[in-house]
Structure formats: structure tokens, C-alpha cells
């Protein structure tokens, strides 16, 4: 893999950029691999990357039915934070954040991680108490967050209206290390690095069945024939239920539509990410200048990648109230993704009833920010056959035992 | 004071009104009873007749007779409308007529706010707020739906619409109706 740098660009510019090599190969599948990952989204690619990097397992295929990074990785609002309340969540999201901080250098691909700071507004006294609880918890978890007052909020976000008659801003949970990254670049950077390690990323190939013998996985049937494997990782987000069905087990997962939108671009006016959970909206400004806006999920199962428009309206009403200046911006584009929600809205990184078959799913609305940590933990699980500490509590049997990892308790939503 | 005094009864907004391209006004207080019973309950039809003087309403209908009315709210719920001061007696009548039948009759007069929207363009005011096909609304049809962000019900007569919502959100509904009725914002 030729390294990317300003010098490489200058060199290539001299020959009109005719010499750039492919970011990743498009190989035909081999007969078998040590490990197959189904799903070339951020989580699947990161799993493959850390299998290679941390465990030296590089005889790996990542099989993708569409184009890599084409699911939720390429559809989310790119928020990154780790100020979660519950210990297992804080651990894995903070691991992810730490990895994000060095990811551009690690992958030699600029994922434009922008630690611009993230605010979660408290607009009721109940929310204030919930976020204070999070700050106390984060301090013990080694996650640096702070509570800031309304004046500081206004200083960080000059366009905000903190004196709204209905929901004045009473303060905010602030994570200075939080921010955004360029979502596509995360998938592309991992894909390029995986390919460089000799892994095969096989796009436009759909898994149609999972073959097993004596309760142990043997490989997958695909639209390009059978591909054998010693270990199988299912990392397919909204379609987890379908693939799990092929592998012979059921999941506590439902697939729902989540929507987002961007405005037309304007000059920089907001340097931080703002989440307002009382009114169900969050907003940041992309490097292009678009205001990137997200809201809540639909309540019914849906695989169309289209959501219900009233959620967009609810979000925009709330944001116009909080940021009156956006009223005369224009919505440029709205879209939806399919999120996989578990019974406690926390993910599953787990062994499964099928031997040597592992699953990573249920990230709901919080998937993007977890990608590096999720891949790290999943790679450890697949390599060792047992979960490491990051994944241990995210096993799929916790529901039976009642050991929930519930983030909604602290007035927080998951995005 | 141990005997019941004559307490002035106030509606949620004290009869607020707004004159736009249609006239919006809060009316009431009106007497309202929620009556829950299955339609096949013996004596139900007679009980309703005794209280409102109307027939038992069929699905989605409201039977109106003067100041009184009986509306179909769901397969086992009726809304009885009558003068505010008649409610006590009406409840007693229902209790008597349905004594041995499984039913529930409660006074909800104070839990509601009632509006009238009047004028040629009255339907345009509601068209802005309710996701209901008003052109397909028949006279005497009771439509339960959403009015902007709250639950509401309405029916139409010769001079306009009667709109019912919860009392606590009367101010919100008045605000939404007034915004919608502003001169210059006629739809057609």
C-alpha cells in the first residue's frame, strides 16, 4: 500500500493523478478463509482490521451484499462521544473514542476526526439530575466529562436560544473530546487497511445461507457459491435477524427506521455538536457547512430506509425553537437508515448458539461512534473464542437473566 | 358552609374568541358524560334516549337534538352532551336505567373544552390542523382525530364545527385555531 501524504499528492499532481493505486482490491472469493465477516460496514471492516492488527489473522474475507460502507455507516449523523452512563457502555465507547483519536494516523487515511466538543442540553430539572449522575459516573469510569452552566453553553454555541420560554437551557453535559468524523472515510480507511493486509473485501455478494455441521459453523452460501470458514462473524446491523435466522437462532432485535437530514451549506456558525434530548433533536455543522440534523426513530418494523416524515417535523420544530436562526435555512436532503434495536437498546457482541459463529449487532442509534471499539472487541471475541472485558457484558443471554445495560435511565438517548 | 353554594362555573378560557377569516370561540361549559357500555347492553338505547332524547348513535355518528347530543366514540364508548347543570340528574338516570348492566358513566364536563368554528371557511381552519378529510366528513359524523399536537373530536352542522379537546390544552388549541384563522391565510 502506497502511503498517503501531502508529498504523495504533490508527486501525483505532476502526472495528473494518473498513478494512484486502488484503495482496495476487488478479488474473487477464495474457497475458504480462517474467518469470514458478513457485512462490510464500519463494524465489520473494523472487526477484520483488528483481527489482523491485534491477532495476526489475515486470511479473512469480508462479504458485503451491496457496497462497502453503504449501510448505516454512510447514513448517520457522525456524532462521536463516550459519555455513557453504564460501565460497559462507557468502556466500549471510550475505547472507540480513544481509537478514533489516532485513527487517521493508524490507517494512514484522514477520517477527519474532529474533537470539537459535544453538548447534551439539560432543559428540565430532571434532566439536570440525570446528567450530573452521568458526570459522576464518567469520572469513576475515566471518561472526562463536565457539567457546564447556561452561560458557558451560550459561549460555546452563540446561535442557541438559552432563554426559551418553554425549555430554557439549564446547563449541559459537556464532553470536550467528543465530536464528529467523516463517516465514509472511516469505512474506506478500514477497507483500504484490510485490503493492504491481504484480506478480501467481497462486495456485491449476498450471503444466502449458513452451513454448519454438528453445531459448528463451516461456511456460508453466497450468490457466488459456497465459501468455507473456520469462524464466522455476523455484523449486519438492521439485517441481523435475517442472517441469524440462516444460522438457526433468534435475536432480541427489531429493525426500525431512523432519519436524518442536512440543510444547505452556510458559513461556519456552530463549532460543537449539540444534542437536545427533551425535544428529541441534535445538530452539528459539517465541514462543508451543512447543518446535520437527526431525531428519533419510528416505532414500527421497517426495512425501506425511509422513515415517517412527522419525525422530521417534530425534530425541526424543536430545533427552530432552540436555534431560531435555522428557520430560514433550507432542508437539502433527508434520508433514513435501518437501526437494529435490542430489548435494552444496548448492543450485542456475543457468542451464539452456533459454534464458532459470533454476532455483533443491536447498536441502535449509537453505532457509528462505537465502530473502532466494537471492531476491537469483536475481533478479540472471534480470535479467542471468548469475550474480552469490553464485550463480556454485551452477551445475548443477558436478557434472560435480566442483566440490562440500559442507557435510557439517565435522561439520555443513545445517538 | 355545609350546604352547596352556587359556585360560578368557569370554562377553561372564559369564553375566549378570535375573529379571523372564520370565527373561533370557546363555548361552554357544556355537560358531558362518558358512557362506556357495549351496544348490545339491555336498556342502553333507552338510557341514552332518556338522557339526551336522541337515538343511539351508530358507528362514527353523533345524534343531535337541540342542546343535547349522543356521539359514538368507540365500540363501547359514547359521549353524551347536555346542559352543564343537567349532568347530575342524567348520571342518576343512567345509573337507574343500567343498574344491573356492566357499564361506566362518568361526568367529564370539566375535563373538556369546547370550541365553535363558524363561517363559510370554517373547514379551512380545521384543515390546517387535523389530518382528516373534511370534504368527506358527513353531516352528523363525529370525527376523533388529532388537532395539531393534541387529541380532539369534532362534528359539523349548518353553521360550522363544534370541536372538543381536553381542558388543560384549551389554550394551546385556541392558539392553534386562531393562528389558522388569521386573515390572509385563507386556503382557497
Amino acid at each position: 500500500m502506497k502511503r498517503y501524504s501531502v508529498f504523495a499528492i504533490a508527486r501525483e499532481a505532476m502526472r495528473y493523478h494518473q498513478g494512484w493505486e486502488k484503495a482496495w482490491r476487488s478479488p474473487a472469493p477464495k474457497a475458504s478463509y480462517d474467518a469470514i465477516i458478513i457485512g462490510a460496514g464500519g463494524h465489520g471492516l473494523a472487526t477484520a482490521y483488528y483481527l489482523g492488527k491485534n491477532f495476526g489473522i489475515t486470511n479473512v474475507a469480508v462479504i458485503e451484499k451491496g457496497w462497502l460502507g453503504g449501510g448505516n455507516t454512510g447514513r448517520n449523523t457522525t456524532i462521536i462521544r463516550s459519555n455513557y452512563l453504564q460501565d460497559p457502555s462507557a468502556a466500549i465507547y471510550n475505547k472507540a473514542l480513544s481509537l478514533y483519536e489516532d485513527l487517521s494516523q493508524d490507517l494512514n487515511y484522514n477520517v477527519m476526526f474532529s474533537p470539537r466538543g459535544l453538548l447534551m442540553l439539560a432543559q428540565t430539572h430532571h434532566e439536570v439530575r440525570g446528567y450530573l449522575r452521568t458526570v459522576h459516573a464518567n469520572n469513576l469510569q475515566g471518561v472526562k466529562t463536565e457539567w457546564i452552566g447556561p452561560e458557558k453553553v451560550k459561549e460555546l454555541v452563540p446561535i442557541i436560544n438559552i432563554d426559551g420560554p418553554r425549555y430554557p437551557v439549564l446547563g449541559a453535559l459537556y464532553q470536550a473530546r467528543g465530536g464528529t468524523a467523516r463517516h465514509d472515510a472511516v469505512a474506506w480507511g478500514y477497507a483500504r487497511a484490510c485490503s493492504a493486509m491481504g484480506m478480501d473485501i467481497i462486495q456485491q455478494t449476498e450471503v444466502t445461507g449458513v452451513r454448519s455441521e454438528n453445531g459448528v459453523v463451516k461456511g456460508v452460501e453466497t450468490t457466488r457459491g459456497f465459501i468455507g470458514c473456520k469462524k464466522l462473524g455476523i455484523v449486519v446491523a438492521g439485517h441481523s435477524g435475517q442472517v441469524a435466522d440462516m444460522a438457526g437462532f433468534r435475536l432480541p432485535v427489531e429493525s426500525l427506521a431512523l432519519q436524518a437530514l442536512v440543510s444547505e451549506p452556510i458559513k461556519p456558525c456552530m463549532d460543537v455538536v449539540v444534542m437536545a434530548n427533551t425535544v428529541h433533536g441534535y445538530m452539528s455543522q459539517s465541514d462543508k457547512g451543512e447543518m446535520v440534523i437527526g431525531g428519533g426513530t419510528d416505532g414500527f418494523n421497517n426495512f425501506t430506509q425511509r422513515g415517517s416524515f412527522h419525525h422530521i417535523e417534530e425534530t425541526l420544530r424543536a430545533l427552530v425553537e432552540t436555534f431560531p436562526m435555522i428557520s430560514r435555512l433550507k432542508m437539502l436532503r433527508q434520508w433514513g437508515g435501518i437501526v437494529d434495536m435490542t430489548g435494552d437498546r444496548s448492543p450485542i457482541i456475543s457468542k451464539t448458539p452456533l459454534g464458532n459463529c459470533f454476532i455483533n449487532c443491536g447498536w441502535g442509534t449509537g453505532g457509528f461512534k462505537a465502530i473502532p471499539g466494537s471492531g476491537w472487541a469483536m475481533a478479540e471475541l472471534m480470535a479467542k473464542g471468548e469475550p474480552g472485558p469490553l464485550a463480556a457484558e454485551f452477551n445475548m443471554w443477558r436478557f434472560r437473566e435480566g442483566q440490562f445495560i440500559d442507557e435510557s435511565v439517565a435522561a439520555g438517548v443513545a445517538h | 358552609m355545609s350546604e352547596v353554594a352556587n359556585i360560578p362555573v368557569v370554562s377553561a378560557l372564559g369564553g375566549a374568541s378570535f375573529d379571523g377569516f372564520a370565527r373561533v370561540r370557546e363555548i361552554g361549559p357544556l355537560g358531558m358524560i362518558t358512557l362506556r357500555a357495549k351496544p348490545e347492553v339491555k336498556g342502553l338505547s333507552a338510557a341514552i334516549k332518556a338522557v339526551t332524547g336522541t337515538a343511539m348513535p351508530k358507528q362514527r355518528r353523533i345524534e343531535v337534538k337541540g342542546e343535547k347530543a349522543a356521539g359514538w366514540m368507540s365500540p363501547d364508548e359514547y359521549l353524551l352532551v347536555l346542559p352543564y347543570t343537567d349532568v347530575k340528574a342524567a348520571l342518576a338516570t343512567l345509573a337507574e336505567k343500567l343498574a344491573d348492566q356492566h357499564h361506566l358513566a362518568v361526568d367529564v364536563s370539566d375535563a373538556r373544552a369546547v370550541f365553535r368554528i363558524e363561517g363559510d371557511r370554517a373547514s379551512e381552519v380545521l384543515s390546517k390542523l387535523a389530518p382528516a378529510d373534511l370534504a368527506a366528513l358527513e353531516k352528523g359524523e363525529l370525527r376523533r382525530t388529532r388537532i395539531a399536537q393534541v387529541a380532539g373530536a369534532f362534528w359539523q352542522d349548518e353553521t360550522g364545527f363544534t370541536v372538543v379537546c381536553f381542558r388543560s390544552v384549551a389554550g394551546y388549541v385556541m392558539g392553534a385555531l386562531s393562528h389558522s384563522a388569521q386573515p390572509g391565510s385563507e386556503l382557497f
Binding site: R250, P252, R400 | W72, R144, T145, A151
Partner: protein, 107 residues
């Protein structure tokens, strides 16, 4: 923005008049049930990409819960029916089978 006809009041309600309530025809398991039965009752969901049976409440209308057969991939609605039943009615099953010959059937 779905339209579902409420089987109780006959209103073709739009989605904002309704509240979704998840998978239909779940059998409740209470005290005395096995861990597995209880877990399945509480958490395991069919989540099919295709024909699905689900609960809706006509919350801004008559307040009644009803059930709907709907395709989660195209959002086509095959029918709605009252909630007081433990299985989808035969006419709806027949209608789905006619429209989706590949459908594996309810259960």
C-alpha cells in the same frame, strides 16, 4: 406515512393518529413459566423483512388496539383486524398467500 384502517371505527387513519405497539399475537408467560419461554415472550421478535403481524392503537381516535398484516419491505398493508384474537384471520392469510406466493406462512 402509513394509512391503516381502524377495524373498529372504520377510519382510514394516518400514522400520526396511531401508535405502534410491536409484534402481534405474543403469548404471555407469567410466573411458573420457563426461563426460555419468558425470555422469548419478552424479547425474541420475528422482525421479518416481509410479511409481519403487528399491533397498533388508534390512539388519537377510538383508542382501540387493533392488529395489522403489513409488509416491512414494501409497506403494503394486507389487512387490519381486531385485537381480540390469538391468530390472524383466515381471510387475511389467504389474501397474503395470493399476493405473496413465496410467503412461508404465519408462525
Amino acid at each position: 406515512m402509513l394509512i391503516l384502517e381502524c377495524p373498529y371505527c372504520g377510519v382510514k387513519a394516518e400514522e400520526t393518529e396511531l401508535s405502534p405497539g410491536g409484534e402481534a399475537h405474543l403469548k404471555r408467560f407469567g410466573p411458573g413459566s420457563s426461563d426460555e419461554d419468558f425470555e422469548n415472550y419478552m424479547f425474541a421478535r420475528k422482525n421479518p423483512k416481509g410479511v409481519h403481524f403487528e399491533r397498533w392503537r388508534h390512539s388519537y381516535g377510538c383508542g382501540k388496539w387493533f392488529l395489522a398484516a403489513r409488509c416491512t419491505a414494501t409497506l403494503e398493508v394486507f389487512g387490519t383486524y381486531p385485537a381480540q384474537t390469538t391468530e390472524p384471520p383466515a381471510d387475511i392469510i389467504d389474501k397474503i398467500k395470493a399476493k405473496r406466493p413465496d410467503w412461508k406462512g404465519y408462525k
